[in-house]
Point group: C2
Chain length 345, copies 2
């Protein structure tokens, strides 16, 4: 029963892409979606790996994402804003389309922003953040989610778990990158506690009356709490403003109204801000990339960790050894490929 | 003994400006510095009010800031980056010089950044954040500080209390604005506990061996902790990277090395990113300012607060009634004016 199968990263990509093609996604949607899912699996970030395929298919089946959308780049000449309309498809192909233009603008202007509108968001934000560092750029990525988090002092879901990611490029090694929810915990973690019949840690959630609770059911009926008290609540609000309202896309309460559920991938926009460290540091003493290494060495030198290192270690292993899937995972891939959208409710 | 004096905001500005002129600051330094100090006093934000005059004078006396500096705008044609060199003076006149150029660039390009280099930082960041909203822009402001905060998992001061501010403009009323340290508490709060002989709340600090402590002396000899655990630690690190290293200015450990103390105002740089909501929202449904009000109403509607509201209430009162100072405060202003730099150690 502990039989496993090891495949190259390319082979997993091919299989996942084939599943999406079979389910009716066009080539740009299927390719980009498979790339972020395989990246999650490669990095041993299982919550964003092949486990996510079903959710994507459910969202397609519910008619809440266009499987055959072709994202469109909207020319904004003479602007530091690059806009891509995902045309109701997934965010990932829209990002792939916009990234080279964003990078060129950021190099020319010093900083630039990529706005993705009308997309279904699906993956973690670190694939986007690492897309920037692959281009030698630093950057910030943020988007709303569904209304599941109460602002500090409030008692009802309003903000999303609004992820916030940042990355800084490092020469010859993986970037400095963080990507986290602005809630204390991800919604999935509460669900895992519920299934395991375990109480939540204090401070994660409130019940429907606004009182602190450690009961997962009460938490799911109530609201999650922002990380870091009023400071995290403020950052979550900032993300609604910048990556929802400012870019003319849905806020977390509007997403929930539109979908009516948190079980499908959310439909909203995304904001990516890219910085050229060379342009910013020009004319100033010191090389910014060398100086950043001094900072990272000082962090590591006192026994603290840099974020994402576990992911990068798994990646290095996967690149050499391939990706190992369990028999159940292999069967699941087989089943999804055979049944397509019939495999999901 | 409870005698107080009430002055108009303009009259307090005149007095504070005169103190700085008397202490050898030129007109641009004295004017800008007095404006942020008076803004603090006006907003009943005493920790950034006239209490700060002495610290500014001590920094001048120690030769760590140039009282007669004239900030220089560095032309960066065709760029989204506006650079101002503070020329060793305070950050505030450099910001005042750069703001109109930043606003013009942000309106033209959609977003733009103002970099202030070689400045002594002195005030809270909300005056800068509100400078942006006065121009109808949204924005982010950040800067390093002194190394007093241990990264999560570490045991020694490395990061600064690195403030992070954001503001969004609101029509006909004060902006949505937050401005907070990325440490759990400000260093001044630990000092206040020490003076009062009171233990610190749990989670604020570690001692010199890296163990949690509630003893203010042990905390001051050890390190403060970032807010929100590893997430706040990551944001603090991001600020070192973007607003220290990327802009070619000092990081928090470098600031501490340079000054050798945390009792003088820190010398480093500052990063201000400005967004034009109109430019971002162009061509999309809905007016971003109206939509933001819906979000704010929803926050207030569940009994949560918007940040800075206490400050704005105090401001509204000061604008009508003037600023009331105690007899001790009036004497202090008199003494600083008479003695100039001789008033400080």
């Amino acid at each position: 029963m502990s039989e496993t199968t090891t495949l190259t990263i390319a082979a997993v990509q091919e299989r996942v892409e084939a599943i999406f093609r079979r389910a009716g996604l066009n080539a740009v949607q299927a390719g980009a979606l498979a790339r972020v899912i395989v990246a999650g699996e490669r990095d041993a970030c299982k919550s964003h790996g092949i486990y996510r395929i079903e959710g994507a298919l459910r969202t397609v089946k519910a008619g809440k994402v266009k499987p055959d959308a072709t994202p469109e780049l909207l020319p904004q000449e003479g602007s530091a804003i690059v806009k891509v309309n995902a045309m109701g498809g997934f965010a990932n192909p829209a990002f792939e389309l916009g990234l080279p233009v964003l990078a060129e603008r950021a190099r020319t202007l010093g900083l630039a922003a990529l706005v993705i509108n009308d997309c279904t968001h699906f993956s973690a934000l670190w694939p986007e953040a690492e897309g920037l560092t692959d281009m030698g750029l630093a950057g910030l990525v943020m988007c709303p989610s569904y209304a599941t988090v109460a602002p500090t002092g409030g008692n009802k879901p309003l903000l999303g778990t609004n992820p916030f990611a940042f990355a800084w490029p490092r020469e010859g090694r993986p970037p400095y990158v963080f990507d986290f929810a602005t809630s204390v915990a991800a919604r999935g973690e509460i669900e895992l506690h519920r299934r395991a019949g375990k109480p939540l840690p204090e401070g994660w959630a409130i019940d429907a009356s606004g009182n602190p609770t450690t009961d997962p059911d009460a938490a799911l009926a109530g609201a999650m709490l922002p990380f870091g008290g009023h400071k995290g609540s403020a950052i979550g609000t900032m993300i609604e403003l910048l990556a929802g309202i400012m870019i003319g896309d849905l806020t977390s309460p509007e997403v929930l109204d539109y979908l009516g559920t948190t079980t499908l991938a959310p439909f909203h926009g995304e904001l990516i801000i890219a910085f050229s460290p060379e342009a910013f540091a020009a004319g100033r003493p010191g090389n910014p990339f060398d100086r950043a290494e001094v900072l990272f060495d000082a962090i590591l030198g006192q026994g603290a960790r840099l974020p994402s290192q576990r992911r990068f270690a798994a990646r290095a292993k996967s690149e050499v050894d391939g990706i190992t899937l369990t028999a159940a995972e292999m069967e699941q891939l087989e089943r999804l490929h055979t049944l397509g959208l019939d495999a999901v409710a």
